[in-house]
Symmetry: C2
Subunit: 408 residues, 2 copies
């Protein structure tokens, strides 16, 4: 990384020109830095003459979170770029195209998705995306199946695992999701009105046992190449298109972690409707949409995953009668647990979600926070008994303590 | 590996001379190649003037098994050498000292253990080793604990895992232990008189499901740096000393696989007493010794492992009340399963054990083979219900179908 230096806008344009077959020789290019400056520089490069545009994303050698700055490996740019390219080979329509990767500069050049919106914002605006469940279900099925021992040559899988050892970013997850929320950690960011709920969780040993078991899976279960951070802020969307971005947390881990990230963020928005829906009817309607989407994501995932297994399974032993059902049952349980863990940390851990934090009415925000904690902790407690995705929907409804009119 | 060439005895002596502080300058050295030539050259280098001696072990770039020859990575010499050094740092008295490792030559120079015998031979001669259970229980506890997320910095563990990606040798295990014995594979080596027992196993779907689950753990559960091939042929022993050798199969896998390897080989010898014990009383006595050792190995392992966890646990979450018991219960179940799988493959898979194959009386050999298969398949079937090591002893006794006089 000796040649690393953060690019200026002029340097970003110069670099963009050097990529073959992209822009016209000698044409005018414009650059705008649109990143939030916390982790990466993000240059939006446009060619006004043709309307063409691309994104240059450059990793910064540090992370800024709540004013703090700590060093962070530039190797995450390689991991992100390689993961994107693996995902693109498996689901070309569901990730941005990667034009180039420059390791010295920790720089990835990729498709511009400015015509999409970040899904979290789309959900806060209460948009519906009827194709999303099919898209993300297929993304999860293809990326998880074909990078696992079920769908990839098992010796090549081991070598690929070696390229995705990602200690620094894994540690962020290990601490912020599986440790800090379950104790009075300095990193927690707790609104005073829900401190009692956090303190209750800190004393709940039954819950802690389940979290320890989930944490162990995150540390040791090398099932598939995960995205690793698949929340609705890592998804660009518009009605006819879904694009998964930012796989810098990619590593070989338990499949249920990625599925749970998607479901958790849908359920966080479900809770957040306390503050966003203008009236009970529209609240019920949007919550119905979200719960149906939760169910559909799992259903599309499972259908695709089982079909891939039956058609493309590389392992004779894993075709043993009963094994597929055993595996899917276990994966569903993991998904319950990771969904719950992903919800809890977003309420009073270090990093919250805008769906809830941006609710201005403090009473509504508190109701949303308590509802998310109730659903999250229930899913964690229940995870090893889970038998079907319908139970997840039922538990979410039960814990939401709102009117039952929207039962699916 | 461009400078690689198999050493002659003269070159082995020359190399031995170049190691600092080992032999006297200019003194006479003698070399004898004592390997079996299948996988490695093994030179025994002695200095008659002082009585000093060492072993030079050089990996060959191929494996010879039943007349066949296939290419095999020389990187296994690095893995073996690094694993030995990690083990030595944790249990200095339980592995040979490594004097030097030369990567170009795939050569490890290590302590000579000629005053020990291979434990498999010692058991065939019906010797007893009263310190063995404590030694190997401690070896297992220390190596598995301190290379796992329980006892090692979790980010350093990930980096170490990356150094022990061992696709070729893992594949040998994946095929020969978890696949071929459960179908009519060409690699199987089946004595005609037990073909019916093998055919019964090939049709047993309940058994296959358990094997698939165990195989999945071998492929995905990166708990600790395993020895990977811890049978009684990988252990040098004498009454007051135990030395574990040959960790060329080392990789990050499920802890129960190493423990199961030890227990399986004790139980294979238990079955083999059909052919080795001169009379029923001595058979019962030696079997009692073996079963007591099986139990003691687990007991010493568990006691040491729990003590290390309580004293040296690096992870706050894993100190959660109830988690240690949950972990140990799960590990015991894995141990049952891997013990069983390790037994079955040794009866009619590619590689057998001398304990049984060298029984000359065909009827006694057959009784031993059927007994080992009965114990092995029962442990596999039972593994996910196991609750205590006593059950393993009880199942072994029940399936041995011999007189009950030797119940512990």
């Amino acid at each position: 990384m000796s040649n690393y230096h953060p690019l200026s806008e002029a340097q970003a344009i110069e670099y963009a020109r050097s990529i073959p077959d992209l822009f016209q020789a000698g044409s005018e290019l414009a650059s705008r830095e649109i990143g939030d400056g916390n982790l990466n520089l993000v240059f939006h490069i446009t060619e006004p003459a043709t309307g063409k545009s691309i994104i240059l994303k450059q990793a910064l050698p540090y992370a800024k979170v709540v004013g703090e700055s700590w060093p962070l490996t530039l190797d995450r740019a390689r991991i992100e770029s390689e993961a994107l390219q693996i995902e693109e080979a498996l689901c070309p329509d569901l990730v941005p195209h990667v034009y180039a990767y420059e390791s010295d500069l920790a720089l990835t050049v990729m498709e511009d998705l400015s015509d999409h919106v970040i899904m979290r914002r789309g959900l806060i605006e209460r948009n519906q995306y009827p194709l999303f469940a099919e898209h993300i279900g297929r993304f999860l099925a293809h990326t998880l199946f074909f990078t696992s021992d079920l769908g990839k040559n098992q010796q090549e899988k081991k070598v690929q695992l070696g390229r995705f050892i990602n200690p620094e970013l894994c540690k962020i997850t290990e601490d912020l999701i599986f440790d800090d929320p379950y104790r009075d950690a300095e990193t927690n960011s707790i609104e005073p009105h829900i401190r009692d709920a956090a303190e209750k969780i800190w004393k709940d040993h039954e819950l802690h046992l389940e979290v320890a078991i989930l944490r162990n899976k995150f540390l040791t279960s090398a099932q598939a190449l995960l995205h690793g951070d698949l929340h609705t802020g890592s998804i660009f969307i518009k009605p006819d298109s879904t694009k998964v971005i930012d796989p810098e947390f990619a590593y070989y881990g338990p499949m249920g972690f990625d599925i749970g990230a998607v479901l958790a963020n849908l359920l966080l928005n479900f809770a957040a409707q306390e503050g966003w829906s203008p009236d009970p009817e529209s609240r019920t309607a949007y919550r119905n949409y979200l719960l149906q989407t939760v169910k559909d994501v799992w259903t599309h995932f499972e259908r695709n995953f089982r079909a891939l297994w039956n058609e493309h399974g590389v392992d004779r032993v894993f075709q043993t009668p009963g094994y597929q059902d055993h595996f899917m049952a276990s994966l569903l349980q993991d998904t319950f647990g990771f969904t719950g863990a992903k919800m809890v940390r977003r309420i009073y851990g270090l990093a919250h979600v805008a769906d809830i934090d941006k609710i201005e009415d403090a009473a509504a925000r508190e109701r949303a926070q308590r509802m998310a904690l109730a659903i999250g902790t229930t899913l964690i407690r229940f995870n090893r008994q889970a038998k079907s995705i319908d139970e997840l929907i039922e538990l979410a409804i039960k814990e939401s303590t709102v009117e039952r009119g929207f039962v699916l």
